[in-house]
Symmetry: C2
Amino acid sequence: MSTPSPNILSDDELVLLDRYWRASLYLCAGMLYLRENPLLHEPLRLEHIKHRLLGHWGSDPGQTLVWTHMNRLIRARDLDAIFVSGPGHGAPSVLAHAWLEGRYGELYADKGPGLDGLRRFFKEFSFPGGVGSHCTPETPGSLHEGGELGYSLSHAYGAAFDHPDLLVVCMVGDGEAETGPLATAWHSNKFLDPARDGAVLPVLHLNGYKIANPTVLARIPHDQLADLMRGYGYEPFFVEGDEPQRVHRLLATTLETALDRIADIQRRARTGSFEGLPTWPMIVLRTPKGWTGPKEVDGHRVEGTWRAHQIPLDPHKDTAHLRQLEQWLRSYRPETLFTADGQLVPELAALAPSGHRRMSANPVANGGLLRRALLRPDIREYAVAVTEPGTATEENTRPTGRLLRDVMRANPDRFRFFCPDETASNRLDDIYQASGKAWMAETLPEDADGTHLERGGRVMEILSEHTLEGWLEGYLLSGRHGLLASYEAFIHVIDSMFNQHAKWLEKALDVPWRASVSSLNILVTSTVWRQDHNGFSHQDPGFLDVVTNKSPRVTRIYLPPDANCLLSVVDHCLDSTDKINVIVADKQRHLQYLTIEEAADHCTKGIGIWDWASSDDGAEPDLVMACAGDVPTMEALAATALLREHFPALKVRFVNVVDLFRLQPESEHVHGLSDAEFDSLFTRDKPVIFNFHGYPWLIHKLLYRRHNSRNVHVRGYKEQGNINTPMDLAIRNQIDRFDLVIDAIDRVPGLLVAGAHVRDRMKDAILACQRFACSEGYDQPEYADWRWPGRTGAA
Amino acid sequence: MSTPSPNILSDDELVLLDRYWRASLYLCAGMLYLRENPLLHEPLRLEHIKHRLLGHWGSDPGQTLVWTHMNRLIRARDLDAIFVSGPGHGAPSVLAHAWLEGRYGELYADKGPGLDGLRRFFKEFSFPGGVGSHCTPETPGSLHEGGELGYSLSHAYGAAFDHPDLLVVCMVGDGEAETGPLATAWHSNKFLDPARDGAVLPVLHLNGYKIANPTVLARIPHDQLADLMRGYGYEPFFVEGDEPQRVHRLLATTLETALDRIADIQRRARTGSFEGLPTWPMIVLRTPKGWTGPKEVDGHRVEGTWRAHQIPLDPHKDTAHLRQLEQWLRSYRPETLFTADGQLVPELAALAPSGHRRMSANPVANGGLLRRALLRPDIREYAVAVTEPGTATEENTRPTGRLLRDVMRANPDRFRFFCPDETASNRLDDIYQASGKAWMAETLPEDADGTHLERGGRVMEILSEHTLEGWLEGYLLSGRHGLLASYEAFIHVIDSMFNQHAKWLEKALDVPWRASVSSLNILVTSTVWRQDHNGFSHQDPGFLDVVTNKSPRVTRIYLPPDANCLLSVVDHCLDSTDKINVIVADKQRHLQYLTIEEAADHCTKGIGIWDWASSDDGAEPDLVMACAGDVPTMEALAATALLREHFPALKVRFVNVVDLFRLQPESEHVHGLSDAEFDSLFTRDKPVIFNFHGYPWLIHKLLYRRHNSRNVHVRGYKEQGNINTPMDLAIRNQIDRFDLVIDAIDRVPGLLVAGAHVRDRMKDAILACQRFACSEGYDQPEYADWRWPGRTGAA
């Protein structure tokens, strides 16, 4: 630990800085406790205290210290900076500074400067109808949802990408540092280009304790922690202490050094004199948990221990606590910090940056303000030629890869693509023509042959769905655009991140000052029906079930049946805002059905009858064959062809669903069909067979309120798989053509007897398929290469 | 990098070792390609090659090298060792060794030694009806599902806990090392007690590439990687090279050193001369990807690059590849490794350990063989006294904490409890009376005041749900017992781990030689309805939706309504095998309803009518009031009381559901009620109001096939929350008593007109509740402290 340089801060500056910090600490403590008497103009009485004490004191002093010091540097260096608050329930520190900087009052007029404003500001904290104890969309200056721990650092890096002048100060809690997502997010520095991206300054806050335990990183030897940070590729600077004056000086010196280091790395990278992997600075800030709070309560040490985590004193339980609370609050000498009418004293107010330089008001943290729409090429240029439906094949994702390539080209400053090492595997590798993969670490000569590594690359690949999702969220929330592609089974890795982002978007819609951000687009590919060969562990279409639990205001699910429909859906999603668009489309070769014009029309409607595959001629059908998803659509079509062959008089209506929420009533989802529309497609009483991509009960969950729901028979993945062929896997889950024909025979009145021999033939076909697969290792060509025979053809 | 000592391996030993390795490599390559001609007794022809080439070559050489060397050490030191294969799709190496050690033939008689057995062994690999390309339950010697990456190291540590003589060799892929769960699992060494636990030897395999990218850890400077491993608390040993003889010698020397280090740490810890945090050894093995495979194919470098990841040659596309494949296979000189009739030559067979010392046959990796049932105390000793239902309160989890304390005491060698820093917060802290929290890192004097840290502790707390879940899975699969408690919202963090473990259990049921293991028990607490104060981000009961997608053979969901029911459910779950039991129970004070005898009876049935709360007197009711979960049960009861007050003639049947799968038809879930049983509870045509803990549509998903499903009106969490009080949160989601009364009025024929004024009063009550909460910060006492008035009382 170096000795602090005495020259960075004058004694006068230090005194002011310390007073500003104490003002913020007073506000933090006030938020936890006070509903009246905000500046202690009267002696503190029990009726001034909130009845239910909620909130967290522990991490506030360290966080607010860093913010206070950053203000000085922002002014001194005219920095464009934002603050990401990682420690759990750390909102008081951010809220306090937003209030001190005047931002809070600008956004929430009744809670700004003044005694009444301050009283309301205190009271609404962690109070019914008020704001949360961790950073939420309501928190000025924050783009980070602080509820679930582990994502601060990936969010910080996401915000820094393509923002060359931005500095993201990221407070990492030593509790959250134990989470997996945080532990790997340190490696983000291998993907940040000092020439074209901004900088992240991580501050690992060794607060020492979680709720009831010491933290791992606070209790490993000092040298081990330094090794760990060096091992992650950072130059660690330690700021440790419990004596404010000393820590102020040390932190000021250290921040200056760290910012010098950053400036030097950026200058060298931007003048072409730096080509290696930069060693960015980071700070380890070790200060006592609950610093400056009560040192001891009821004989237990509090400051510097886990007991300082939440509410250190409870005046409702013990009147001695009331006195101790008053002493604590008065220890900050609020009368020297605030005017009698509840304003920050002018000499302190002058310490904050102004306008957009305030971290509480930086538009980057309200990224919709900065968002510029994507330039989107005409999707017709990428269309697959379709002359007859169901006769040609294409890899469904490949044309979209070309579209994304040109989106990338047209928007070099505001679009990135994210994928865990699977871009080529997912047949999206045309995108590399527009940009390589970000990679700042070592390269070898042999990399030139096919790895597409590039220092300034905007294709982001790391084998961590958490990091990718965190980067993308940070990138979107700071005003840009992107798309994440993932293997379907492993998108569950980020279920909880999806949940938290959906909750952020939902709440942000109700925060008037939050500008709209680009939607989070997730392309779910390498899907269950072609994970036959990878086996059971790779077969899981259940992400959709997670998605359908979140607010209909923000969730969308699309299952485009072919390449042109995927183009149309992706184009729509790239243009949308404030949603999470989940697109399910497999990467393998599949039958193509619709021209690009038909696809655009079909996807806009989101659901529709395919006349060319139907035999009801617009009249009431005997059977509705419905489907959603590429493979289920093909099998449903093949079943329809078989039905026509065996039962020429049967009137089958063929319905394809792209926009899954069309199935829900309009009262439940904004995309829902009215009952009349639904009935016009699915009838009120005819048998419906629904061949679905995912778990079958999801469909029942969506349409249980529909008139005809009792007649809907759903097929889908029901956890039957191992090492299979595609056809074998379909058969095991009964989404195959033969089982669908059997389902029809079982359900259409009159077919049961007449169809008995057809039933037997279907069963024979199933057995033959499975026998062939198990002896040869692949599907019989007549089924694997099946084509739609046309309206009049035979199967 | 040190110079290998020449003394560890004699030249003869080295030759034999290398031959054994080459035998394993031959088998790996054979698995990828051959369906006939397994030992190349004939020139290789296209018809000997599988039609569809699937599998992964890249990581096999490094993994099989380590296994080969471990065999030598197991024999030399009589080690009890297992092997965890972390790299993706690394099954060939494990399968190869299982075959060489004779274990494969013992378990799969038709695929053992002999030409036919070898042919079938080759063919079934990654073949329909065969075995997977990553480790699965069918893989001998493996307790690690290798499909989703990131969990090898936490599984390894879980297996090592309480197995003092065990060595777990854990191959960590440099791809999976990028995942969050793996990145934090290195810290498991702070929780492993060298005195009472076994050892883990991580071998980080710097294979260099993932599917199409270099790996991060392979491309950071050597010193950085060494720092990183030192920072994680390990002593790294580097074994690097591409020349087999040299690598053999270096690896042999290094393994000896590493095992000496481990033995020394354990000896000192077990003789009381070691108290600090041990620095365990780990090995960095840097060898070329696809080592010994084709060096170049079609002008592209393959060995040592990403092109070696899967199938390096495709004879079906290019006949030159057929020749190259034959050269490659023959380069191992199979005729010198195997006898003409397909046996490993005796001098090589003699190199493997025998019996249970074989890593492919170690019972730890088939842990059910070692499992001894838990000693379970009589739950009546922990019962809450209940004289009148719904009148007294208790923290629902606290008695279970006492039960777990005594389970821990009675089973000191085979039960652990896992929780992310929330044991006390979840009111389970009585368990600390039986055991503290495992903690090998530094302690401070102030820790003595309440942190319960203990070197040999068996309460496992780290702020990583991933690590906890991984530890627990490893602990269970190696034959022990445990329970994980988590905040409800954040259990989604391990959705994907749940999925993979459920898939493991489901498949293991069909593997005859796998013995039953203890169930994975997850206590979901700090539930949505009492996360009112923590706000929207902490409100998510959707884990149940994920659970219901997995096989009914392994999934169970319980929602005990009170403390005694929770005791009964936990007791049952601790005794069960091969399941995942998800138990939802909040930690706060709640009303108590059933005596322990009534609770045991109710939970055994899983669903039942509460006569004391019903007014139908066994006759057909006008309304069924159903509920599942603690808070919804209380609100449903309160609504029932209100209905009785306002509509004394109304016949209400009160049904409580504990075992959620009772709702499904028996055809769908083994716990499902028959239709007759269901109808006898829910009627065939009467209105049913179902007040549910989770998202309401989950109930529709479970019972859409029931006769009366159209009349079931479900209330549950519908993503309406912010900072609330409990009552306010209930009201926003309409699970509150007043909304339930309104629901009844809207649904029971005849009540609509008669009940108009009641409806208005309910709406007034709702508004009054919300106004009170927003002005006072807590719920009105008359509702917060509501008690069941008894059968005849007024609400």
